[in-house]
Symmetry: C2
Subunit: 202 residues, 2 copies
């Protein structure tokens, strides 16, 4: 089984890369599907789950307590459920691409090919603009980037000693700023295939 | 003109990748050539120049002073000469691969494709062992890794606000631990060609 995990800065195009890679490789694709499953299992509203995992302030937990996952708290409890759902996906034993959801850390022992996707602030703002209401101000976009990435960093920190976005946690880190995402996805597909082919020769 | 710069952790295989990439692409290749040129221009011994740039303790300069490059100090003076030599190479206007020498920062305005190469500690030790006297102890190798990388980090800090090895300073960061370097170089060649072809279409 081959797994690709994609961690990404908000607005860097990571989700599109994940979808395209899955299509190009014929792999299963998971992104929002995980939110849906968490919501179903916990009998919660999908939007609420997404809101808690992506948008809420994650800065209230003392690290030593939260790592143990024993706190009776809706956010920690949702992280626990997320872990279960991601592990369940891996246990299907099918090639897949998983975007976000700390799957890089959760599935570490399955040797996924771990990608971190980032971009310059300007490039991210340009990309986010195209999917926003045209009245959204630049300031609002910047705030959203900060808030979402802060939470991604924070939830990652609850699971791993390697900081979110530190190369040491990934096989490959890519700045998407000067790329066309379609073109990048094609290039990445070939690159990752070389990696796996080389490993099989070992 | 196309420039590829390769920054690398000691023992990660960056130099070999650079040489292979240059061969595969038919690009000029610069590595030790820069040391030789600095030595010639300053009428110094090559080994002395290499020793100062790679091995000396770079921790004695207050950052604010050293950034100005006005200190009358052999190390800073050598960095100034290094900058001149790297700029001279770029001014030849020929496609090239440059390994190390802070060329990523020095040539920023020429839009090089900037690669950072790293690896797990174990993988680096394995690689370094193959080129060391077999009596070299593990402890000595670990010390050498620490010393050389500390100096690379420090000389980079004298030239750039972005820390050495931080993805934001590079187009691509690659963990070489599970790769065969020959295979990786081939994969990289194709990846970078896609990048440039995509840019030309813009």
């Amino acid at each position: 089984m081959k797994i690709i995990t994609i961690s990404r800065e908000f607005g860097s195009g990571g989700r599109e890369i994940g979808k395209r890679l899955a299509d190009l490789l014929g792999f299963d694709y998971y992104d929002r599907e995980i939110i849906v499953e968490i919501a179903k299992n916990r009998n919660l509203d999908e939007n609420y789950v997404e809101e808690v995992l992506e948008n809420k302030n994650w800065h209230n937990f003392p690290l030593t307590y939260s790592r143990s996952f024993t706190l009776n708290n809706p956010q920690i409890s949702m992280l626990t459920e997320q872990k279960k759902v991601v592990e369940k996906i891996a246990n299907l034993n099918r090639d897949c691409v998983i975007v976000g959801r700390n799957s890089d850390v959760i599935l570490e022992d399955k040797n996924p090919f771990k990608i971190f996707v980032y971009a310059s602030k300007d490039a991210k703002i340009e990309r986010i603009k195209t999917r926003m209401n045209e009245n959204t101000s630049l300031k609002e976009i910047e705030k959203q980037i900060q808030r979402i990435d802060k939470n991604r960093r924070r939830t990652h920190e609850l699971l791993s000693d390697i900081p979110w976005g530190n190369p040491r946690g990934y096989n490959l880190c890519i700045d998407t700023s000067n790329w066309d995402i379609k073109n990048l996805s094609l290039a990445l597909k070939e690159f990752i295939k070389c990696y796996w082919e080389g490993k099989n020769e070992d």
